[in-house]
Symmetry: C2
């Protein structure tokens, strides 16, 4: 595995790859890698000739009261994991490489999608994500870019921006990797205390309960989207979660409509100071 | 010259160009070509192996009360001119090709620069420009992109966005082409009546006057930026212009500072219903 820390270095590394028309699979990460990231890398190596993984803790997607400064930075362990996985090039740029020396004036806005759900309590977050992903796409120029389905809204936004901005890239979502107890893997799980780690799988349990309720209700008549979401919220609140939202939406994140036959249930909730998100799709057998 | 009307067709045409690592020069136009455009094409053919020119009247950069519907569309004449010039590929996409079928949610904003000068009276204009240029850069993936210096603010915005968004492209400004009487060539000159065509060169004359005043004043002491701009405005208003602005700025469009030694004088003014813009740089011999 080759490690590049500058845009110029990465371009030099990728130049022969492009000239030989090999496909490039790209996985953008903020480091502190876990099995979820490695599954993205594995998938990329199956789909493409060359795998590029970036590690960049992007300051512009953190709010002023969020955990940018304390976000876990574990470069050496990450680098070892990627070398063992099928990563060909690790791109680990400095903030200066990505945000330059002149003051940045340009932002990429994915309107309406970015202000919804997590965007309601994290203003500017998805503009930070969309802007840095645009930069990284321009730097890496990948054939395929893979993102985890755990960050469902992020994936929806990146799909939209790639399409809207005419990027010549396939954006692929990769299923969430879970611990045995159902907890979705996330770097932020590392913030949880022992007690919180025991409580955290309740999010997935709540998602599964709603999924089952929807499937049951579809056989017996009315699917009460709002009612099921409200019950899910209550269940989590009883278990010490400060719930941001429990919502059921169409797959494209518009409000759930009965005739879709397929939906996504999304949860964001805090355990102590740690904000966790998860989601689960549900598809009627008839759909 | 090959003409492509779809993104897919353009990608196919450019695929062997990219594989052979030839450089691509790109000129984005809205058609109704004049000598100014052809100079961009000529410059592109000197700098690059392959020249791509786009003709696309971009709806999102026109305001609701602007001239999108009536903008001159002269495809056949344009195509002939480009074939005679050194254009290799003419890219002439439909609105659907560029803006897709799903509702667009993504915009590229170049903050502060986009709200200044022409942006004050044309809200959304430069966001439309920045967004379509981002799309076109992603579609064409040029080595070099050339824009006219006549649209000084547009050029500044595109330079900024290319740098901010890490596009691997050189943005090059090409000097304004003028008629013998000094009038900057522009498709919108075609809107001018015979009488207005006689008046229009007064804009360039005003720019030259201010340029001379600055050079004179620099020898005798104080350069009165605001005073010179105000005089230029008055001179134009006396000649039937409805002046939007006459401004003197640093080359990066920040407010003029005496220690720069180099500035740009910018004018936007309406003659009847036609809005004209022009600019002229001035550099002190000592700078």
């Amino acid at each position: 595995m080759r490690t590049e820390t500058t845009i110029q270095g990465l371009h030099a590394a990728l130049s022969p790859v492009r000239a030989s028309r090999k496909s490039i699979g790209f996985v953008a990460t903020m480091g502190n890698l876990h099995e979820g990231h490695l599954k993205l890398v594995q998938e990329a190596s199956q789909l493409c000739d060359v795998v590029v993984v970036s590690i960049f803790v992007n300051p512009t997607q953190f709010g002023p009261n969020e955990d940018f400064a304390n976000y876990p930075r574990t470069f050496e362990a990450d680098s070892n994991l990627l070398a063992e996985a099928n990563c060909d090039i690790l791109f680990a740029p400095s903030t200066e490489q990505i945000y330059g020396e002149q003051p940045q004036k340009t932002t990429v806005q994915v309107n309406s999608l970015a202000d919804d759900l997590c965007g309601r309590t994290r203003p500017g977050h998805f503009t930070g994500v969309a802007t840095v992903v645009t930069k990284l796409f321009n730097i890496v120029q990948p054939t395929v870019a893979l993102f985890g389905e755990k960050d469902y809204q992020q994936l929806a936004i990146i799909r939209h921006l790639a399409n809207d901005l005419c990027f010549d890239v396939d954006v692929i979502g990769v299923p969430t990797v879970r611990a045995e107890n159902g907890l979705a893997l996330s770097s932020r799980n590392g913030y949880l205390s022992e007690e919180e780690l025991i409580l955290a799988p309740a999010i997935y349990a709540a998602l599964q309960t709603i999924q089952a309720q929807i499937l049951d209700a579809s056989e017996n008549g009315k699917i009460d989207f709002d009612g099921f979401a409200a019950e899910g919220r209550k269940a989590l609140e009883k278990q010490q979660f400060a719930v941001d939202y429990v919502e059921i939406r169409n797959p494209d994140l518009t409000p759930a409509q009965i005739d879709q036959g397929k939906w996504v249930i999304l949860v964001a909730a805090k355990l102590g100071k740690t904000r966790l998100i998860d989601n689960l799709t549900v598809t009627l057998p008839s759909a």
